[in-house]
């Protein structure tokens, strides 16, 4: 940092040259290192409100029960409903973050939650706040981001939210059982995804009924 130009009487322009986004990456790297040191494989589950994030997590937790020590961090603006839905499915620990209005989780708030985890976990699912926009700019420092999108969000949902799907490592196309009832041709979101992120894995699912959940676990190499 240095002074470099006097602009008027008593004023100077100071060079700062700091990338605020890079700061988010630094905080995410701190989480990545924290998780790596403890041998915890962590996953960010993102998607709209009602896409089926909690159903997917509950299904994955059930299938991993007895085989893995799983922790869940559920992020919501308010309430503990999501954490309660996952509780009793076989997770060793369930934490709820209430953001109080913040529309996404970020690496800093996740780091606070990590400090409250028990020792001995080997898998962690972090459920992001329901939102298809803001979370895409806030890396959490986890191994992979799974974006859940449901047929009920319409045919163009992927095309309308390119940043979110660019940031995804796996997409779960959920509620396929109701696609016809809501006049959605599933070929459209799949084609849009291929245009935005060629080769990105897509799992068609009905998480509430357990369809596709095992395939997600295979894709994440958790089974």
């Amino acid at each position: 940092m240095r002074l470099f130009e006097t602009t008027e009487q008593g004023s100077v322009e100071i060079q700062i040259d700091e990338d605020i986004q890079a700061r988010q990456e630094e905080l995410a790297e701190r989480n990545r290192q924290w998780l790596r040191e403890r041998g915890i494989r962590a996953f960010d589950i993102a998607g709209s409100v009602g896409a089926g994030k909690t159903s997917l997590i509950a299904g994955m937790v059930e299938r991993l029960s007895g085989r893995r020590a799983v922790g869940v961090i559920a992020g919501d603006v308010a309430t503990t409903y999501d954490a309660e839905r996952v509780t009793g499915r076989g997770a060793r620990q369930v934490l709820q973050i209430n953001t109080g209005g913040m529309c996404h989780l970020d690496a800093k708030v996740v780091h606070q939650a990590l400090q409250k985890l028990q020792d001995g976990l080997d898998v962690l699912f972090v459920e992001n706040v329901g939102n298809l926009i803001c979370p895409s700019y806030f890396p959490l420092g986890v191994e992979a981001r799974i974006v859940v999108v449901s047929a009920s969000e319409g045919s163009h949902v992927i095309e309308k939210h390119p940043a979110m799907f660019r940031s995804a490592d796996l997409v779960v196309l959920n509620k396929i059982d109701i696609a016809e009832a809501v006049s959605v041709d599933l070929a459209r979101p799949v084609a849009d995804l291929e245009a935005i992120r060629p080769g990105l894995p897509v799992v068609k699912a009905n998480c509430l009924a357990g369809v596709g959940v095992g395939e997600v676990l295979h894709a994440l190499k958790l089974v």
Binding site: G10, D17, E18, E84, T87, V94, I97, T99, K108, K116
Partner: protein, 110 residues
């Protein structure tokens, strides 16, 4: 076993995407101004990648609000948008050396 009762984490700072970013920008500018012994901040130059999809009016509003709280009212934002970029760079700030350092906590979170 759950930690629902005992470990419910409380609200954390910023409430919106733009406010969160504005807080980070203002914290960066305030720190730089303090390091130079400067007082009121008059303007800030930013370089924002178009892929950040920032609402510039809202970002400006939040930065001006934070700056006013810390003794720098009427701050001007000079924003350059970079096509296809993802950066959120604070390039520089014009500060007034003749006024006292801005007040307020240094720990404005983002």
């Amino acid at each position: 076993m759950t930690d629902l009762a005992g470990d419910k984490l409380l609200p954390y700072g910023a409430r919106l995407h733009e406010l969160s970013i504005a807080s980070g920008i203002w914290a960066s500018v305030k720190k730089a101004a303090a390091e130079h012994g400067a007082g009121r901040v008059k303007s800030i130059k930013l370089e924002i990648g178009a892929l950040q999809m920032i609402e510039e009016d809202q970002l400006t509003f939040w930065i001006q609000t934070l700056a006013e709280r810390d003794g720098s009212p009427g701050i001007e934002l000079k924003i350059t948008t970079v096509p296809d970029g993802l950066q959120m760079r604070v390039v520089s700030a014009e500060v007034d050396l003749s006024t006292p350092q801005p007040k307020g906590d240094e720990g404005t979170s983002q």
